[in-house]
């Protein structure tokens, strides 16, 4: 298999989910570096503890390296590099990889504290949340006609009593 960008033998293989369709990407090491797909050894101003733990948890489900959040576009490798998540949905998308990290940080993985009075669990997303995700996707794909449509739908829902 050859690198998508330069034709050299590919050593980095990832899967991106763009607009609901999967896209396989094959790159050589140098091109993967250029695209920022390989976690750097260290980088400043990070929550060092998360980064350290994230890189030390080696029993990573193989697919995790290929996963990107369909909502915010964050890849697991980017999380590993920066120690910060991109959107609430990342907790569901990267759940398997996060569990051992959370256990290491908190010595616990299940919330037992305060609950919001109303049901706002992301496990049950509401319509506006879905629309916002679709809006982001449309903007990313520069489909501004679709984006305007989603924006208007969101406004309409928000002003509804």
């Amino acid at each position: 298999m050859t690198c998508d960008d330069c034709g050299q033998p590919a050593t980095v293989h990832t899967l991106e989910v763009v607009g609901g369709t999967k896209q396989e990407i094959h790159l050589c090491r140098a091109c993967a570096d250029k695209r920022n797909l390989i976690p750097a050894g260290k980088s400043p101003n990070l929550p060092a503890v998360v980064q350290k733990i994230a890189t030390s948890v080696s029993v990573l489900p193989m697919d995790m390296a290929k996963i990107r959040c369909p909502d915010c576009g964050l890849s697991y490798m980017e999380f590993r590099k920066h120690g910060r998540l991109g959107c609430p949905n990342d907790y569901l998308v990267f759940r398997q990889a996060l569990l051992p990290i959370l256990d290491r940080i908190h010595r616990g993985t299940h919330h037992t504290g305060k609950q919001p009075a109303k049901d706002c669990r992301i496990e049950k997303p509401d319509e506006i949340y879905r629309l916002r995700c679709q809006l982001r996707q449309a903007v990313l794909q520069e489909d501004f006609e679709q984006a305007a449509k989603f924006r208007d739908l969101i406004r309409e829902r928000e002003t509804r009593p």
């Binding site: 503890v49 759940r95 959370l102 010595r107 009075a117 706002c120």
Partner: protein
């Protein structure tokens, strides 16, 4: 909100009142919250940040509190004003140095402050003088409820309140108690205390949070864990150790007085003397000397000088405060001269050290 007016007075948390305030300077608690419908701040676009801030600003200024929250546009403040808010513990250093649309909402008493678009969309903080961490939680909990009525928080059944950094997920709570521990430091017992704290997952930091030096013998003790325990259990963990540390510090002070009263009195008096006469003095030296004087006041080695005056001097000799009081930007050397002048003027009419 007029920040120049702020500079002439003090927040409630520096009042030197409240339980155990000879040793516990203040109690502070914050929760981190995010809106479900937006990406976290690090990935949000500038227009999303503006939208997030507009929503939270509207919520914050509409909720009914004994004292209203006043909005501050942090992004448009001068660097000096931002640093000033950091010194007063009203915003974090990260928030001051951040980029893009961001703000805060603060009460006039400075006991409650909200940050918008810091690492998380919303941070709600309450800070009180003395040992009153439960009261801080009650205040934050209530404000959190009032804001939740108006927005949809990012919440998961499994992981609780979702935050940009996994170190805050769950309760999103960070409770910290700031202690003045000069006697434990002087008698070299402090490291032992810290080792014990780390074993029960509590963190120890300096005066201005993460990575800051413990200058002036001030130490902040806070929880590390936010997930898997209830808010009450997290507070309970802190409540279990703070009274003990306060007790250790008191015994260490008593022992110092009993065993080496002269040495201690000499140290306190010299510190007081330097503060009253120095012509140029760094922030670090000021903190160090004020720490001795503060203990001297608590042990009646100096009479007629109130704890609130000392607390006041701690904050007003910080770089941004000093520059605000002087009404101009000053280089480090100029600040040292201005600081010494300020200390002399504040302590000129103060009584002599006890004999």
């Amino acid at each position: 909100m007029n920040l120049d007016e702020f500079a002439t007075r003090n927040g409630e948390w520096l009042g030197g009142s409240g339980p155990d305030s000879d040793i516990v300077i203040s109690s502070r608690l914050r929760v981190a919250r995010n809106l479900a419908d937006f990406q976290f701040c690090t990935r949000a676009t500038e227009s999303e940040r503006r939208e997030i801030e507009a929503i939270l600003k509207r919520c914050a200024t509409s909720i009914k509190l004994a004292e209203p929250l006043e909005y501050v546009d942090v992004a448009s403040l001068s660097q000096l004003d931002r640093l000033f808010l950091v010194e007063r513990q009203l915003i974090s250093r990260e928030h001051a140095n951040g980029t893009g649309c961001r703000g805060a909402a603060i009460t006039a008493r400075e006991d409650i402050s909200l940050m918008f678009n810091e690492e998380d969309h919303l941070r709600i903080q309450c800070i009180r003088s003395g040992y009153s961490i439960r009261q801080c939680w009650e205040v934050v909990d209530r404000i959190d409820d009032m804001i939740e009525e108006q927005v949809r928080y990012a919440f998961s059944e499994e992981f609780g309140y979702l935050t940009a950094c996994p170190t805050n997920v769950g309760t999103g709570i960070r409770a910290s108690v700031m202690l003045h521990l000069p006697a434990l430091a002087m008698t070299k017992q402090i490291d032992r205390v810290f080792r014990a704290l780390q074993k029960i997952q509590l963190a120890v930091r300096g005066l201005y949070g993460e990575g800051s030096q413990a200058s002036g013998d001030f130490y902040q003790i806070s929880n590390n864990i936010t997930l898997g325990k209830t808010e009450s259990e997290i507070l309970g963990n802190i409540e279990q150790v703070v009274p003990q540390i306060v007790q250790y510090e008191r015994s260490a002070r008593t022992k110092l007085v009993e065993e080496s009263r002269e040495t201690l009195h000499d140290r306190v008096s010299r510190a007081y003397g330097i503060l009253r006469t120095a012509q140029t003095i760094s922030s670090e030296e000021t903190m160090h000397l004020l720490s001795s004087v503060r203990m001297g006041v608590n042990l009646d080695l100096i009479e007629g000088l109130g704890i609130e005056t000392i607390n006041d001097l701690f904050i007003h000799t910080q770089p941004a405060h000093l520059q605000k009081l002087e009404g101009q930007l000053l280089e480090s050397e100029e600040r040292n001269v201005a600081r010494a002048r300020y200390l002399r003027s504040r302590l000129a009419n103060a009584p002599e050290s006890n004999n």
